[in-house]
């Protein structure tokens, strides 16, 4: 494959490109889907092809094909150069790429238990066991569980990337992902749903570690508790403790996304949106001083793991907020050149046929020094929101909302009864500046972050410890 990629790069340069990058990417996946206890479909796919990105006459273009013959590749290279050149009539200035730590080498994540050693029958049995326990948990807790949708995916992503300025990497990352959508209902008290997403990089050992049947049983038990015992919470100002799952989505949506440099430069303005941050935001107050938010692609086992990005730039940890101040934007080489900094390795593409763009990897609040009990003890009246159901945020990442699923009233430093669907509707500065204490625990949830046009749903982790917020307006739920 290296020979073909080298051919593509050299042809692009010959056709007039001043920069060329060729990426072979193969995603081999196996999936199984169980709906209400019955196997819906088993599927396996290989999506592979070559993506070509070039700069010519200052214009940027990307071409991709899964027809891997020299004739088609040559056509696609020429088309990329032609369209880049054609864009000069509608562009001021040229696209530049920043300096960066360009790497060469092979980076492979090993599977301790290879996917090939786990037949689909065994995977299906695992899901069936989880489904059976969901039913049993419903029966034990006197709720019906009319909607049960369980899917388990394994896939391996192999990439070989060659750039005209010396990058040459081959990477291999296997991943396992589990998604469950469970509806529980009880007569007279409505229904509640839970979406569970787990994902890690690694082999089948990830799925074994999750203990899916027990996890699903516990989740149904929790839904039953919410349906049967949670009480209405009147709207009022109170302290709030957020669990790691909520902290993860908050970090991702209102810190990670606004910290993407391509949004800052308006590149995603018509789709995923802009950011409320400006070029001069770095160094300004973002949160209370106890808050540090990082995005780190190098976390072992993480769903968003990578060793080097799709521009062959070495991956590293990025501090988005450091000691309460905006510290760094996520950059690829294009945005970094515009902002006169070095790329910090944030360029990712979800498939061979997608342009690499600025993405998060694993975004989380760094651990602090409080035990969970200490966080609770410091609350006179408040609510503990352990996980969530609905959320959204505006396209400048300023006005957001989170609706709790499993949540409890806190009185005089003690956790009391469950409360139904408490909600936070809050601005980004108000949320982050209200944090007064950060827990010493750390958990992650998996997600597919959507961005780009065409859409690229890319695997990420989001997480953090428990955190405490003071004097928030909490809306009452059902």
């Amino acid at each position: 494959m290296e020979d073909i990629l080298e051919y593509v790069v050299q042809l692009a340069l010959k056709e007039g490109a001043t920069y060329a990058e060729a990426r072979y990417q193969a995603d081999r996946s196996e999936s199984i889907l169980l709906k209400n206890g019955l196997p819906e479909v088993t599927s396996f796919d290989t999506k592979r092809g070559i993506g070509i990105r070039i700069i010519a006459k200052g214009g940027l273009a990307f071409s991709a094909t899964n027809l891997l013959n020299k004739g088609t590749l040559s056509t696609m290279v020429k088309r990329a150069v032609r369209s880049a050149v054609a864009s000069r009539w509608l562009r001021k200035g040229g696209v530049r790429l920043s300096e960066a730590d360009i790497v060469s080498g092979r980076f492979e994540t090993k599977q301790r238990i290879g996917f090939g050693n786990v037949p689909m029958e065994l995977r299906a049995e695992l899901l069936k066991e989880a489904d059976d326990l969901a039913i049993e948990a419903g029966r034990m807790n006197r709720v019906s569980v009319p909607g049960r949708f369980l899917s388990l995916d394994t896939w391996e992503t192999e990439k070989t990337i060659i750039t005209s300025d010396g990058g040459h990497v081959t990477t291999s990352v296997p991943r396992v992902a589990f998604t469950a959508f469970i509806t529980a209902a009880v007569d007279g008290n409505g229904s509640e749903q839970r979406i569970i997403q787990l994902g890690e990089s690694g082999g089948w050992e990830c799925a074994e570690r999750w203990d899916l049947p027990l996890r699903i049983k516990e989740e149904v038990g929790t839904l039953a508790m919410v349906l049967q015992r949670s009480k209405h919470l009147p709207a009022e100002r109170m302290d709030v403790i957020l669990g790691p799952e909520v902290v993860g989505i908050v970090s991702h949506e209102s810190c990670g996304h606004p910290g993407e440099a391509d949004r800052l430069l308006g590149r995603e303005a018509a789709q995923a949106g802009d950011t409320f941050l400006t070029r001069s935001s770095l160094g300004s107050k973002a949160a209370s001083g106890v808050v540090n938010v990082v995005d780190d692609p190098t976390l072992p086992r993480s769903f968003g793991y990578y060793a080097c990005d799709d521009e062959c730039v070495k991956a590293r940890r990025r501090f988005l907020i450091k000691e309460g101040r905006f510290s760094e934007f996520l950059q690829d080489r294009e945005t970094a050149a515009d902002l006169d900094v070095r790329s910090n390795g944030s360029s990712r593409s979800v498939a061979y046929n997608r342009e690499p763009i600025v993405r998060m990897a694993n975004t989380f609040v760094q651990q602090g020094d409080h035990r969970f009990e200490e966080l609770v003890e410091g609350v006179k009246r408040g609510v503990y929101i352990k996980n969530y159901t609905e959320w959204n945020i505006d396209d400048r990442r300023y006005n957001q909302r989170y609706v709790g699923l499993e949540a409890y009233l806190i009185e005089s430093g003690q956790i009391r009864h469950a409360v139904r669907n408490p909600l936070l509707e809050v601005t980004t500065p108000a949320l982050w500046s209200s944090i007064d204490a950060v827990g010493k625990d750390l958990e992650f949830s998996a997600a597919y972050c959507g961005k780009g046009d065409p859409m690229q749903g890319i695997p990420v982790w989001a997480g953090g410890p428990h955190i405490r917020l003071r004097n928030m307006h909490v809306g009452g739920g059902a």
């Binding site: 369209s83 342009e355 609905e390 400048r396």
Partner: protein, 442 residues
């Protein structure tokens, strides 16, 4: 190999390996996209692909795969592998035989003219749109334009065979007048003749200019006018939730409501892939059935869920020709027009809000339809039947069924909507809705 040569090879291999039924869908696609921002081209994307999707039944056991290497050897071995995967699947889901062919398809839906892929042509259309937006007062314009030619070849083991070649042009752009004032415009068409990038730019620019200097909106229940882009998002929700797959999964607010009122009288929503002028028109579904025009909602009443043969057999009804081999889905939604102009919808409201676009619709509860979404781009106060101040920072936090039932006015002029947030083509008018719950950060 050519698609016509691929499908018999795969079907024969599937049958020989023991498949009860098999479907092969070959897709050939050529696409050119231009993304732009700050009035400049950002990147040009080009794509050429060919792949075959193979789906097999071994009675109620099902498996699917995608093939990108069209060599005969790969086709045969992959077909054998997918049949083996189906056989090994534990337990059986629902099963109904594939519709028996040969089947006749509407000639008008089989072919349309390919659209240009020439980068100079596409740049010229983008320039038209940007210039039009700036003429209306926009400071900066961002968006994407896409030109796609696609050929589908479908062949089933029940002797259904069809091909379809269609072109498509889409532009979606956002114009800005300051950091917090924006307007969105779009044009979606199967032919260059019906494609209007300049008008989309004008619309976005006009809205952005009018939305300049927005003030914070006030929370509360108010009457509202939803522009076509908002209505498209809501009708897309109805179309998706009408899928029998989602109904059966417990993920639909339409579950248990067949034959009941789910919207106000006057609301009729079609899924119609049979109109050759419609974006999303298609002659056959993924099981080879000729597509149909059917009312999902007629005069406010939920008339049908969307079915493939398997989900239909489970419910004891006929397929609505909406396969999706796993999950049925709508092809092209259309809401029937009313008799009101946009001005008339607005003038009928004493105190309310006009929302031109939305995004990030999320459910608190799929089963009952509790949700929220965020007005995006231009949003205006309505006072005394006229458009007033530009607003920001509001959220619609309500229930989809409640909003559908509170529609009290339907516009006459419809717009075809398809963009980043609405991926099913939807032809919709503006509507007025009573008593919508707007919330904001405290």
């Amino acid at each position: 190999m050519k698609p016509e040569e691929v499908t018999p090879v795969v079907l024969r291999a599937c049958r020989d390996a023991g498949a009860t039924d098999a479907v092969v869908l070959v897709t050939e696609e050529e696409e050119a996209q231009i993304r732009f921002s700050n009035n400049n081209v950002t990147v040009s994307n080009n794509l050429r692909e060919m792949s075959a999707y193979v789906f097999v039944f071994v009675k109620g056991k099902k498996a699917g795969t995608n093939i990108e290497d069209m060599s005969k050897r790969t086709l045969v071995t992959t077909a054998q592998k997918v049949v083996e995967a189906a056989k090994r699947s534990p337990g059986e889901g629902g099963y109904a035989p594939l519709p028996q062919g040969p089947l006749l398809y509407d000639d008008r839906l089989m072919n349309s003219e390919p659209v240009t892929q020439d980068p100079k042509d596409l740049m010229s259309m983008v320039r038209e749109a940007i210039d039009a937006a700036r003429r209306e007062g926009a400071e900066r314009v961002a968006g994407s334009m896409m030109a796609r030619n696609i050929k589908l070849t479908l062949h089933t083991s029940a002797d259904a065979f069809g091909t379809m070649e269609r072109g498509g042009l889409e532009i979606s752009l956002r114009a800005f007048s300051g950091p917090e004032a924006s307007g969105h415009g779009l044009s979606v068409a199967s032919t260059e003749r019906d494609f209007h990038p300049s008008e989309s730019g004008s619309e976005a620019g006009r809205l952005a200019h009018r939305a300049a200097s927005p003030i914070e909106g006030t929370a509360g229940r108010m009457d509202a006018v939803f522009g076509p882009m908002v209505v498209a998002d809501l009708m897309q929700q109805v179309g998706r939730m009408a899928s029998a797959f989602h109904v059966d999964s417990g993920m639909s607010f339409l579950r248990g409501r067949l034959g009941h009122e789910v919207a106000s009288k006057g609301v009729t929503l079609w899924d119609d892939a049979t109109n050759p002028n419609s974006y999303g028109a298609q002659p056959f579904d993924q099981e080879g059935l000729p597509t149909q025009r059917k009312a999902i909602i007629e005069d406010g009443v939920l008339m049908t869920y969307l079915h493939n043969s398997t989900t239909a057999a489970k419910e004891g009804v006929e397929s609505t020709a909406n396969a999706g081999l796993v999950a049925p889905s709508p092809f092209s939604l259309a809401m029937s027009p009313g008799g009101r102009s946009l001005e008339s919808l607005i003038s009928g409201i004493d105190h309310g809000i006009y929302v031109t676009n939305d995004w990030y619709l999320r459910y608190q509860n799929f089963g009952n339809g509790d949700l929220s979404f965020i007005p995006r781009d231009a949003m205006f106060l309505i006072e005394g039947g006229s458009i007033g101040a530009s607003l920001k920072e509001l959220r619609v936090s309500d229930n989809v069924l409640r909003m559908l039932s509170n529609i009290d006015g339907i516009g006459q002029q419809r717009k075809m909507v398809k963009w980043w947030e609405v991926d099913t083509p939807v032809l919709v008018p503006a509507v007025s809705v009573k008593d919508v719950n707007f919330t904001r950060p405290q």
